[in-house]
């Protein structure tokens, strides 16, 4: 396997300079995600306006994959409706966990850069942590999310 398929330039870039890496004062939802296996931690902030994601951001610490995934996720979600975000969660989950997911990477824009993670089973949870955390936030949960 080629490391470059995992650590693509866009992933290295989003790890080095994560977008939306900040707290949102007055967020509608704030929820923690944790991967006990590797110690990745994320706090996700979502500000909703009706059913539109007006703003979304994150804080935390983790590996390049988890940081880049969260950064790309927040960038993609801004301005999307909750229903679209949930569809993206499902698409990303399928893309990263199933060989035959049928998800067209091209439909996912920049998020497609994470597709290479699927070839590294021990790293899939790094990429999906932020998405599981988002899913719980949109469901209105306030319990911390873990990948285990």
């Amino acid at each position: 396997m080629d490391l470059k398929s995992l650590y693509q330039d866009i992933i290295v870039d989003h790890n080095r300079s994560p977008r939306n890496f900040r707290r949102i004062e007055g967020a509608t939802r704030r929820i923690d995600g944790y991967n006990p296996l590797c110690g990745d931690r994320i706090t996700l902030y979502v500000k909703l306006s009706g059913d539109v994601i007006e703003d979304v951001s994150f804080e935390g610490s983790g590996c390049a994959i988890s940081t880049a995934s969260a950064s790309l996720m927040t960038e993609t979600l801004k301005g999307r409706r909750v229903e679209e975000a949930e569809q993206l969660f499902q698409s990303m989950h399928d893309l990263l966990t199933r060989e035959d997911s049928g998800v067209d990477p091209d439909s996912l824009g920049k998020l497609a850069a994470l597709e290479g993670v699927r070839d590294y089973p021990s790293r899939v949870k790094c990429a999906t942590l932020c998405w599981h955390t988002l899913h719980s936030a949109l469901q209105g949960d306030d319990q911390p999310v873990t990948t285990e």
């Binding site: 396997m1 490391l3 995992l6 650590y7 290295v12 790890n15 080095r16 296996l37 590797c38 110690g39 990745d40 931690r41 610490s61 983790g62 590996c63 390049a64 994959i65 590294y120 021990s122 790293r123 790094c126």
Partner: protein, 422 residues
């Protein structure tokens, strides 16, 4: 008796000389393969070690030639199996220099050994106000069993701190040994930092106050000769798979007088002498603590591992690994941005490190692409990670078959990680 004796003969030829690493490597079939197109460099020995052909063959031979249950059969196969299993116990006794095989309880591993002592020895002896003392560098398996006892009895758990180099602060350990301390649990070698504790001194301090001591030796036995009587400890726990034996087998050494006094840990077959519905007479030591059909193949394999270590020589192994540790510490420290976590004066087998701006998990994946297996994460020692303010570390851990060239390969792979993220 083919493989063991052949391998023994080979290593005896070089008695007195330094360890012949090429000869040792030829004893381990798994090492001769490519991973990700590169020669395997296995540096995850603290998680589990590889097995020499002598161990693999001993396990296979049991299943192929004399598989049967032990201790009660009168038929030939059962007698052969019993002899081999009890032979392994004697080998372990000699390996640890215990006084008697009555002091060697064969269990699933070090974790089960600690749990046995926690439940059978400590739990009946403590109550509210009493204290159990451990250290900040313990593996979770020498923390959680004591938390269970704490929650069951209302006693408290005290933790002796470590310093910035990852060494136990002995004055603090001594200060925490108070009038209510009822038991001490200490690791011989830290799996996360590599620190070697001066167990003999710590046992002396505890015994001066009549406090019994358990030593978790899982990370020590592959790297150095261990003499439980010289250490003076009351209990010593080990795992077979970390000393080139099979998984699922290990042992507890316990001083006979203490074991004699302890109630059984589990009930079942083999640990009884006589059962009626009114009462049960327990078997003698060590069988009182060995309920159910044991891991017979594992025990026999562990015996073969002890033979193998003896044939190479623990002194020679220790010298080889110490030289390798010194080389690796220097070579890795020369990698730009790398910081070694745990810089104790006495270390064995383990070098933990972090790299500036690169998460350990990314390091693990990148060096794997070069065929190098290291561990990344919290190493089942989360309090140690907290102490050093890191979520995780990367850990290279060494065994008797590792070489300086492999250290160079790791160092180059880490340098490559910097390029990936440049």
């Amino acid at each position: 008796m083919s493989t063991v004796s052949r391998s023994t003969a080979k290593h005896e030829q070089m008695a007195g000389a330094a360890l012949d690493v090429a000869a040792v490597r030829s004893d381990f079939p798994i090492l001769h393969q490519h991973v990700q197109g590169k020669p395997l460099v296995y540096l995850d020995n603290a998680a589990t070690s590889q097995k020499p052909a002598a161990v693999i063959e001993a396990v296979a031979r049991y299943y192929r030639e004399y598989n049967s249950n032990i201790h009660r059969g009168v038929h030939t196969l059962s007698e052969r199996a019993t002899e081999a299993y009890e032979g392994a116990r004697e080998k372990l006794r000699a390996f640890l220099n215990a006084a008697s095989t009555r002091e060697i309880v064969m269990l699933r591993g070090a974790t089960e050994a600690v749990n046995l002592v926690a439940q059978s020895f400590v739990r009946p002896r403590v109550g509210p106000g009493d204290e159990i003392l451990i250290t900040e560098m313990e593996h979770h398996s020498n923390i959680v069993p004591w938390q269970l006892v704490r929650d069951q009895t209302g006693c408290s758990l005290k933790v002796a701190p470590i310093d910035d180099r990852g060494e136990l602060v002995v004055e603090e350990f001594e200060r925490l040994l108070g009038p209510r301390t009822r038991f001490v649990g200490i690791g011989h070698v830290s799996n996360a930092l590599g620190t070697v504790n001066d167990v003999r001194h710590l046992v002396t301090l505890a015994h001066e106050r009549d406090v019994p001591v358990l030593v978790d030796g899982a990370q020590a036995v592959p790297h150095m000769a261990v003499d439980v009587r010289a250490l003076g400890c009351d209990f010593y726990a080990l795992s077979g798979h970390k000393m080139y034996g099979p998984t699922g087998i290990g042992a507890l050494y316990g001083r006979e007088a203490l074991l004699e006094d302890m109630p059984p840990y589990q009930g079942g077959g083999d640990m009884i002498r006589m059962v009626t519905f009114e009462r049960t007479v327990y078997n003698e030591l060590p069988y009182k603590f060995e309920a159910g059909t044991p891991n017979i193949a594992g025990g026999i394999g562990l015996g073969a591992a002890v033979d193998y270590l003896a044939s190479v020589g623990m002194g020679r192994i220790a010298a080889h690994e110490q030289a390798l540790m010194a080389y690796a510490s220097e070579r890795l420290a020369a990698v730009e941005g790398l910081r070694i976590i745990g810089t104790a004066t006495h270390k064995a087998g383990v070098i933990s490190f972090v790299m500036e701006d690169i998460h350990p998990h990314d390091l693990g994946t990148i060096v794997d692409a070069e065929g190098v297996a290291i561990r990344t994460g919290h190493h089942c020692a989360m309090p140690v990670m907290e102490r050093f303010g890191v979520p995780a570390t990367a850990r290279a851990s060494f065994g008797l078959y590792n070489t300086q060239e492999e250290v160079d390969t790791l160092a180059r792979a880490l340098e490559r990680a910097r390029e990936v993220f440049a």
